[in-house]
């Protein structure tokens, strides 16, 4: 077992027995579920909206080269510098390079999962640029030296008491049990950071090809401030964020808010189409957009799973996933956790190294059903398993299935095996869950259902 798989198993085992952790996640998600269902019901045709959203993302992804060219040309036409990065290293170099050229010492950031993907903060810090996360949840996990726990709710795993302790330790503020007071502490600290920052760095939710705009969805207003006050603005986004037309946002913005946070629309949905324009008196003088590939084209070259690039990072599949809800976000060890993370990480970072994630699923399909753009998530998990086996077949699995085929194809042997199973079962309690138990991985924490007293064939013969 490789290191990432080993860590995954160890943490998953620990957290799935941690009842406090489970209760915390359940409470947070139950509140979300009520709101989400309420908002879905307001749509005139939610299923129709999902189908149409999937078709639009299909159109975007399957003509991505043309749309990216349009997008970049429009942005450049209004004074934006567009950069292309084939991988994380190039993106980091570009961004660190901008910081150096500007002589920047402080950078304020609004939420960007793509920056987590390429470990941007570490590179910036190493080049002497201080980085402050401005999204409240991100700020909290940054103070803890942790990765975000969830792509939409980064600090979902923490209680107000833990956050209060953290603030007392790191910021020297008095302890409080009020989420409002805690929020106001962060507001006071971060206000100064916006004003002092030389660069504001954001992610993007959508990139509109038709008009050359990026679209950012948020509730706190931190992204608005990040893109209003510093002199230089940088937006980092994956190439798959494209939507063809401005009109498409009328569908995507309310869908994202509904499944992402249980809101009909988020607090701020903002379009940025350039740096400060003639006749404008604030906003950045320079606007840089960094388009990142980082193996997305590898995922794209698998037509079967190309729809995973339709993902709008709403987090709905994480929230619906029974595995995520028990093992939590950090266990995955990846920037993108939950079902979508399990699908795309093997493409982005290596199939064999990350194959274990494809098995962290009951294949129940709750993720596929939750997905607003109909990514066929649980089918892809199964396809990943198949691909692993094609690439690196496991000899004993092949042998076991060959033996099973012999058994299942011969009625005499089959009957014999059934008799043997019934006998062996009587002795099983003596070794159940122990080192000698062949079914140990299953039986050490679960019951083995008993075989029926008689076979169906016997039963049928008697009744006939």
């Amino acid at each position: 077992m490789n290191t990432s798989a080993h860590q995954f198993h160890e943490q998953a085992t620990r957290l799935s027995h941690d009842l406090r952790h489970r209760a915390l996640i359940q409470t947070a998600l139950e509140k979300y579920e009520v709101k989400r269902d309420e908002k879905k019901a307001v749509f005139q045709d939610w299923q129709g909206a999902r189908q149409r959203a999937a078709e639009i993302k299909w159109e975007a992804v399957n003509h991505l080269d043309a749309y990216l060219v349009d997008f970049a040309r429009k942005l450049e036409g209004r004074g934006t510098k567009v950069h292309w990065a084939e991988n994380g290293e190039q993106a980091r170099e570009i961004i660190v390079g901008i910081a150096r050229a500007k002589g920047a010492r402080a950078l304020i950031k609004s939420k960007s999962m793509t920056s987590e993907e390429i470990h941007l903060n570490e590179s910036l810090e190493q080049s002497g640029v201080s980085v402050v996360e401005s999204d409240l949840g991100e700020y909290i996990v940054q103070l803890r030296g942790e990765a975000p726990y969830h792509i939409v709710f980064p600090a979902m795993h923490l209680t107000r008491d833990e956050i209060s302790d953290l603030f007392t330790r790191k910021l020297g503020t008095p302890p409080t049990k009020s989420p409002e007071e805690l929020t106001m502490i962060a507001r006071r600290v971060l206000r100064q950071k916006y004003i002092q920052a030389d660069i504001g760095l954001t992610g993007a939710n959508f990139a509109v090809a038709e008009t050359g705009m990026i679209s950012i969805t948020e509730n706190e207003g931190n992204s608005r401030l990040t893109s209003a006050l510093p002199k230089t603005m940088i937006t980092l986004l994956g190439i798959e964020k494209i939507v063809p037309q401005l009109a498409d946002l009328a569908l995507f913005l309310p869908m994202l808010a509904t499944v992402g946070a249980g809101q009909l629309i988020s607090g701020y949905n903002t379009l940025y189409g350039g740096p400060r324009q003639p006749g404008e008196f604030d906003g950045p003088e320079e606007f840089h957009v960094v388009l990142l590939d980082n193996q997305r084209t590898v995922l794209m070259s698998d037509p079967e799973q190309r729809d995973a690039l339709h993902c709008i990072r709403c987090g709905a599949c994480l929230n619906a996933c029974p595995v995520y809800r028990n093992i939590g976000g950090h266990t995955y060890g990846t920037a993108y956790s939950g079902p979508i993370g399990s699908v795309i990480t093997p493409h982005l970072r290596g199939l064999l190294e990350w194959k274990h994630l494809s098995y962290a699923s009951s294949l129940c399909g709750a993720c596929t059903e939750a997905c607003p753009v109909q990514v066929q998530l649980h089918h892809h998990l199964l396809q990943n398993r198949r691909n692993v086996n094609r690439q690196k077949p496991v000899w004993w699995e092949k042998l076991a299935f060959r033996a099973f085929a012999v058994l299942a194809n011969s009625p005499g042997l089959w009957r014999l095996a059934q008799k043997a199973g019934r006998l062996a079962q009587k002795a099983h309690p003596l070794i159940k869950g122990g080192a000698l138990d062949p079914a140990r991985p299953w039986t050490q924490s679960r019951d083995l259902p008993p075989l029926a007293k008689e076979t169906f064939r016997d039963y049928w013969r008697k009744r006939r």
Binding site: T27, Q44, G48, R52, A54, E55, I56, W58, V61, N62, L68, W84, A85, E86, L136, A155, L158, T159, R160, I163, P179, E180, L182, T183, A186, R187, L190, M213, N219, E220, G221, R224, L225, I239, L246, A247, D248, L249, A250, L251, P254, L264, I265, G267, Y268, N269, T270, L271, G274, R276, Q277, E280, F281, D282, G283, M300, S301, P303, D307, Q376
Partner: protein, 228 residues
């Protein structure tokens, strides 16, 4: 080959094998869709009534749910009287604003020192204002959103930096839904978009601590909309 060309070449190469059509496998027709999907989104989205009253009702309900204060008046004079009262109640000392037919009339009646953001201004001075007064591009009945832009609403910071954002809107700025709001923006600005266009729905908020709603996370703690 530079990074741009390398990425575009990889995309072209990847797209040589067509993908199955979008969406659920169960409805798989086996053929990729022909032509672009139509953009008739209104039939999927939440319903909005046809009359002005229905739309105002819808805006009011959405705004109330999001803790925005929506005030509708018959005349501009009534709206300004109410604004003056609000200013007195909250003891405003200093305002952020921009030039405009509606904001100019309001600033005149409020008689307070004003930081104008459609000229070079000091960020610290704007931060110290009690309220930011702006006009808007549209109100969206479907969602209770206010559409502002760096051109219509005094730049990027005015609507987020002061603790209270006050919006002045005319009744004819109410549009029914999101598709029409975006169509309005395209029609109004053509190819000369402001550098920022924002759909603001309710005051700044967060649920990042135990999913409990707190207003005023980074931006305004209050949003008041005067419509006449």
């Amino acid at each position: 080959m530079n990074a741009r060309d390398a990425i575009l070449a990889r995309i072209k190469e990847a797209l040589r094998t067509p993908a199955p059509p979008a969406g659920a496998r169960d409805h798989d027709s086996g053929h990729p869709p022909t032509g672009a999907p139509s953009r008739d989104f209104s039939r999927f989205l939440p319903a909005v009534g046809d009359s002005f009253e229905d739309r105002i009702q819808s805006f009011r309900a959405a705004a109330a749910e999001l803790k925005a204060d929506f005030r509708l008046f018959e005349t501009q004079e009534q709206a300004l009287a109410s604004l003056r009262q609000l200013s007195a109640e909250e003891k405003w000392q200093r305002l952020g604003s921009h030039r405009g037919a509606l904001t100019d009339a309001a600033c005149e009646i409020l008689r307070l020192p004003v930081v104008q953001t459609d000229q070079a201004y000091d960020v610290a001075a704007l931060e110290a204002c009690d309220a930011g007064l702006s006009e808007c591009d549209a109100l969206v009945a479907q969602t209770g959103s206010v559409v502002v832009s760096s051109r219509s609403a005094g730049g990027r910071a005015l609507s987020v930096l002061p603790p209270h954002h006050v919006v002045l809107a005319r009744r004819d700025q109410l549009v029914p839904d999101l598709p029409q709001a975006l169509a309005m923006i395209q029609k109004k600005y053509g190819d000369h978009y402001p550098s920022m266009i924002s759909f603001i729905t309710g005051p700044s908020r967060t649920g990042d601590i135990e999913r409990i709603l707190v207003l005023g996370a980074h931006g305004p703690k209050k949003l008041t909309i005067f419509c006449f």
